[in-house]
Symmetry: C2
Subunit: 203 residues, 2 copies
DNA sequence: GTCTATATATTGATAGAC
DNA sequence: GTCTATCAATATATAGAC
């Protein structure tokens, strides 16, 4: 089974499952609504009133569950990377000792993709809204994010040393392609992408 | 000269040039300030007061030059893709008739990268802030954006038919990697990237 | 062309009734 | 646990002096 097929196959299952997590308590409903808004509308458009409307309550009622808007946002962003982190770590641990760097990289990619789809609002929120968070909140969320990025940095380094990645391609480019563009210059990614995909070395 | 070297070489030149465009009239200063803010802080954080502060005037004075905030934002976003559009189109037109699809793709990539660096605040604003614009404004800006995307769609299709891109890789992925992740599922990009770079077909 | 002052709307958050 | 009502801060935008 190719990665594409695995991803497509799981897409339907995750769509059905996303409703199940709505059955949880009021706090979870608020988190779900916030994740959706962060993903599709961004941080500033994720107002307390917008969150409340999606849940079906009034804005003031939110503060019975959470002390502030940023507390909610922080939990959503962190859950987004935490859940993917666990999935990738588990997948790597389950690999036999004789797995090659390439095996490990592919297992990590697969685990990342499947897990991202299962929790897609949270993960997408982590990726897409992160760059425009207020500076203080961004600093807080960077801790958990960095923890996950380190896993990939190591995977990429191993793959690079094993010769799977052209030497003049930044390891950051590939890693960040999985974790979202974030604050990365898109041009740097494009350059490396061109080199990887088309061997564009004589421009 | 590789693309990387061309990009690096032009980076300094563009840094020096960016000040030159500040010498223009008051309207241009406002556009420059807005472009910087959209790129680095996002749409909602780009307030009229923040724009005014960067220009060195008061918020109310902006409305002598523009009728509304969204008018300014729309011009910045559209200029960002328009200027790159022109650069790429010119580069393609300058190519000899016997240029292969690969030649054309590489010329387009180079023109895109160099032009992006020259106008990096405007281009970055177009890429990074677009996804979170208010729905109505996003609809307006999509027109100019689509015009540019169509160029790449054609380039990619030609390159694909000539055999430069694996057949099961979405043409969208490569195109959008140049124009920014936008509303594209990052997972789709990651999948295709994995297939291109690592041949990850047995996951 | 910029300023001050202000109108109006919306934000995050709080207080107290139920 | 949710509501209504409200506060203080900040947003876009306007009006008129200079």
């Amino acid at each position: 089974m190719t990665i594409s097929q695995a991803v497509a196959r799981t897409a339907k299952a995750s769509a059905a499952k996303s409703e199940a997590s709505d059955q949880n308590g009021g706090a979870r409903q608020i988190l779900n609504a916030t994740a959706w808004l962060l993903r599709h509308r961004g941080y500033e458009a994720t107002t307390t009133r917008a969150i409340a409307e999606r849940v079906g309550i009034k804005a003031g009622s939110i503060y019975h569950h959470f002390p502030s808007k940023d507390t909610i946002v922080e939990r959503v962003i962190n859950e987004g990377v935490l859940v993917v982190n666990k999935a990738v770590t588990s997948a790597l641990d389950a690999l036999p000792n004789k797995a090659t760097p390439r095996d490990r990289l592919q297992a990590a990619i697969k685990a990342h993709l499947l897990s991202s789809l299962e929790h897609s609002d949270y993960t997408s929120a982590s990726i897409r809204a992160f760059a425009f968070l207020p500076p203080e909140l961004r600093r807080t969320c960077r801790v958990e994010r960095r923890r996950y990025e380190d896993i990939w940095q190591q995977l990429m380094r191993d793959a690079s040393e094993a010769g799977y990645i052209p030497k003049d391609v930044s390891l950051d480019a590939a890693r960040l392609m999985l974790l979202g563009a974030g604050r990365v210059p898109i041009d740097k990614i494009a350059t490396d992408f061109a080199q990887i995909a088309f061997g564009a070395r004589r421009a």
